[in-house]
Symmetry: C2
Subunit: 255 residues, 2 copies
């Protein structure tokens, strides 16, 4: 049973829709920026604009968390930051390991956003013996042989895979066997994992292909542009750009 779960719509519910969960980080980022500017409260309209969604969606999203706003006023920025952080589990420390310290792995290790919110790079792991001991982003790279020990010693439950595609599944299997239950995969491969393990993928190549699809369509339409006939205007055509800037569905990366 995929991450099993019993389920129950009953009572209070704790069933936050996946689509909502995916937007919480966006709200949190916008709120953090407001917090840094010492803005005390914000309306759903303003916050929605900052996060690039519409206000109805934002309010509905927040309604799954509880009633944290004040009618006629808006939301208390600090309070919301705390509530969302807690909901996302960011009030605790999450040690993360990055496996595969090539160009991308190094870029991820150097990426600041990590430390900021609950995440801490506990270790960098690479299969190349020549890399062992060399510091990347101030952290010494360790050899793959010690992967299991590193995971266990640091209590790591989240792993980032930035290896070549060919090595990804094997690395994934070892991470999972060692106790990792969440994986962020940058390798252009579909990983298979047992139930209870979450995988998210980031794939540049897929993203570019999706853009190419829409790009091609734009080009084709220029030609058909004229015929704005009054017929079945049919097909909605929502793709990305919802209202404003929006970014949308899934993500991807190299392929």
């Amino acid at each position: 049973m995929a991450t099993g779960r019993t389920h129950r719509p009953a009572t209070r519910s704790r069933g936050i829709p996946e689509a909502t969960v995916a937007r919480l980080p966006l709200y949190l980022r916008a709120l953090t920026a407001l917090s840094e500017r010492s803005v005390p409260t914000v309306s759903s309209e303003e916050l929605a604009a900052a996060a690039g969604v519409n206000s109805a969606k934002l309010r509905k999203d927040f309604s799954y968390l509880g009633s944290y706003g004040t009618r006629g006023v808006g939301y208390d920025v600090e309070y919301l930051v705390y509530q969302i952080s807690r909901e996302l589990g960011l009030t605790q420390d999450w040690p993360v390991v990055i496996v595969g310290i090539g160009n991308l792995g190094a870029a991820l290790a150097n990426y600041g956003g990590f430390a900021s919110r609950g995440f801490r790079v506990a270790a960098l792991i690479d299969a190349d013996p020549a890399m062992a001991g060399k510091p990347v982003a101030g952290i010494p790279v360790q050899h793959t042989d010690d992967l299991e020990k590193i995971i266990k010693d640091n209590g790591v439950s989240i792993g980032v895979i930035a290896t070549p595609a060919g090595a990804a599944q094997q690395v994934c299997d070892r991470l999972v066997a060692a106790g990792v239950t969440s994986i962020l995969n940058f390798a252009p491969t579909v990983l298979s994992v047992p139930d209870g393990v979450d995988v998210r993928k980031v794939d540049l190549s897929i993203e570019l292909q999706i853009l190419a699809f829409h790009e091609q369509r734009k080009a084709g339409e220029e030609a058909v542009e004229a015929m704005t006939d009054g017929l079945p205007a049919s097909a909605a055509a929502q793709h990305s750009a919802d209202k404003g800037p929006d970014g949308d569905v899934p993500a991807v990366m190299p392929a």
Copy 2:
């Protein structure tokens, strides 16, 4: 009307659902692998397994493209590769520029997956004068001052932003003004763009936060595990892991 569009369900239709479009690259990758192994045909069941989705979804997805399979047999690998490539617009060349050649930008420039399928890194652009002229991945970095000229001279319609968050919107505005209509944003910011411009984002930080959310839930459930009572087991919790390996919704990156 996001990216405008007139549309017409009529006749053949050309309204491929966004969720389907997002999966086509996955199918294409799996098919390409089969093609390299000279596998002539594949069933929806096999291909679905390779792509990490279920076969009903795959067949439904393909049904939007047309009837490319043979009942009782399956799909011709080469033919499907061609059809999907064409649908995604990969049979043409897409010059791409990468703006912001830091750790990440360099990693992207070095990333092989680019060239493979229709995409070509036409130029690397950075604001640091010290970078100008230095080759990264064999391509000389050019200065931001020449951004507009580079876009126009190369007929670029897809831009990748890998700058710090603070510079992203400005770079985006210039790209759009110069003619770019599709943007892949790696900077942890919401970009605003005019209608007709597509933006997709890749955000490491958001992905990690989504994983943390599910991770936290897993931990919480261990405690409640026992009480499989018929009462308010509450919280649904369908999150990721669909059936098999699946990878799911949106994607993200640095924050």
